[in-house]
């Protein structure tokens, strides 16, 4: 369908095409629509060879770390995506697509590996009286690195939409691009070279979110 149409086109036209990984994530459609709304060319990717020729990859995600890990491995997409990142592809991970970049999750009964691209566990919010978990709603992101291109044109402390019970704890604090307070302070966005990832959902964050996605699309 859409994919067949894209696939049938000649290689040079693939410049700037964003590979959107389709492994059954709940927010796939929203991310897809938001990228199209911004004028991006998007290819839905369900198998490794479809990553060929795409300079950028977006990995959406909602739900459980294990489901994401298992689905990506079943479609042989984890290794292929990791390889493309190694080769210098631009990458944006969203929510579980952010968490999966780390080694492992402390999510209940989780045994599946993540990408291991960044060091650190994925932990749950602490049990605190009055702290509601999952965090559902709009929270502020403190931009801790002034030059992060993802936040270009977005005021510091802008609100983004979060839905999650877990979050990564990067060992290397130098990769942290955004911080958010909820019970404690956690890394809500990371950036290293061409790899970006957010715990919040830009595709659901109205103007601020669309601007962030636009920034990513324009980098590519």
């Amino acid at each position: 369908m859409v994919f067949d149409f894209l696939w049938s086109r000649s290689e040079p036209n693939f410049c700037g095409v964003i590979a959107l990984i389709d492994y059954g994530a709940g927010n796939l459609r929203s991310v897809h629509k938001a990228l199209l709304h911004l004028g991006a060319e998007v290819r839905l990717v369900t198998q490794p060879d479809q990553l060929e020729g795409c300079p950028a990859i977006v990995l959406p995600g909602v739900g459980a770390f294990d489901d994401c890990s298992t689905a990506l491995n079943n479609q042989s997409l984890m290794e292929a995506t990791r390889e493309r990142i190694r080769q210098g592809a631009w990458f944006l991970g969203i929510c579980v697509g952010y968490q999966i970049l780390f080694e492992r999750s402390e999510e209940f009964e989780s045994t599946s590996p993540g990408f291991g691209l960044f060091e650190g566990p994925v932990v749950r919010f602490p049990n605190q009286p009055g702290l509601k978990v999952p965090q559902i709603g709009w929270n502020q992101v403190r931009q801790v690195r002034s030059n992060c291109p993802l936040f270009h044109g977005i005021p510091d402390q802008s609100h983004f939409y979060f839905v999650h019970s877990y979050h990564p704890q990067p060992v290397d604090s130098a990769i942290i691009a955004g911080e958010t307070d909820y019970g404690h302070t956690f890394a809500s966005a990371v950036w290293q070279d061409r790899v970006f990832a957010t715990q919040f959902h830009p595709e659901k964050s109205q103007r601020a979110g669309l601007r962030l996605l636009k920034n990513f699309v324009e980098l590519v």
Partner: protein, 292 residues
């Protein structure tokens, strides 16, 4: 980190959490914005509003417009989320509702919840695939509590909202009603809310049958009790007549979000006006930032 509490605001103080007995012990204020959520009651693809509970089904409706157009308007006003509620809930209506959600999701990049007539995991799946972020279940969850568990297992707790219609039946007693507030269930609202969360509900929408449509204010007491007794966000619904009602249910009622319909549909207040008022009372809200 230093403890910083704006001394003028008791509200902010109540939102400060103490981290446990770890060596990293510190205080971090929780600035999660309180959400303002317009609710669109959809009847055969059109937004309608009944005056009081159950009246919509009896045909006493006021038509207020196309749901997607309204959704876009609220999106522009900076609504934090939108709820589409199917008040017809027939098989035919479900298909048109999926279409409404799909069209809304194409142009509104914000969280969307759909409720009304969702009776199975399959129904949930249809709505989530159409572009909803959450599904709200009510009577079906009462009849089959297992549905909460199945939905949470398949889609995650964050997707599963349990909506509770509660009516005050004694000085200290609130009873759960099903079928759009028409059928008494004999269940205690507090107990049901706790059970729903145990089963995997990620959010509770508490709708006061007594207050709904009266514009006399939310039921603060039951909202506060359920909010304090559960570990998930509580959305207050039913009874908003003015801006102070909304502030009250967030402060005294300890709600995490306010849901309202007619106050927005008839143009009495915009979402932005509500938020500005809440902010003036020291309640954290998300105001539309100037982003090109």
């Amino acid at each position: 980190m230093d403890l910083q509490i704006p001394s003028h605001s008791q509200f902010a103080e109540s939102l400060v959490f103490e981290l446990g007995m770890m060596d990293t012990m510190r205080y971090v204020p929780c600035m999660l914005a309180r959400r303002v959520i317009p609710c669109l009651d959809v009847h055969d693809g059109q937004v309608t509003r009944g005056v009081q509970f159950g009246k919509a089904e009896a045909g006493e409706l006021r038509n207020v417009g196309d749901p997607v157009e309204l959704a876009m308007r609220y999106n522009d006003q900076g609504a934090d989320e939108m709820v589409f509620f199917d008040i017809t809930a027939s098989a035919h209506a479900r298909a048109s509702m999926a279409d409404v959600i799909q069209r809304a999701a194409d142009c509104c990049f914000m969280p969307l919840t759909v409720g009304g007539g969702i009776r199975s995991v399959e129904d949930m799946s249809i709505m989530l695939k159409a572009g909803a972020d959450k599904v709200s279940i009510n009577s079906a969850a009462i009849a089959h509590p297992d549905l909460i568990l199945q939905g949470a297992r398949k889609f995650g707790s964050q997707c599963i909202v349990v909506s509770i219609d509660a009516k005050k039946t004694g000085s200290d007693q609130w009873e759960v009603f099903s079928h759009g507030g028409r059928k008494a269930t004999g269940m205690d609202a507090m107990q049901w809310a706790k059970r729903a969360v145990e089963l995997g509900a990620g959010e509770i929408v508490l709708n006061s049958i007594d207050a709904d449509g009266t514009k006399a204010g939310y039921d603060l007491e039951i909202t506060r009790r359920i909010s304090e007794a559960t570990s998930v966000p509580v959305v207050a619904s039913g009874g908003a007549g003015n801006l102070d009602h909304m502030a009250q249910v967030l402060e005294e009622g300890k709600a995490d979000a306010v849901l309202a319909a007619s106050i927005f549909h008839f143009g009495e207040y915009t979402v932005e006006e509500v938020k500005q008022h809440l902010q003036s009372r020291g309640i954290p809200v998300r105001l539309n930032a100037e982003i090109a």
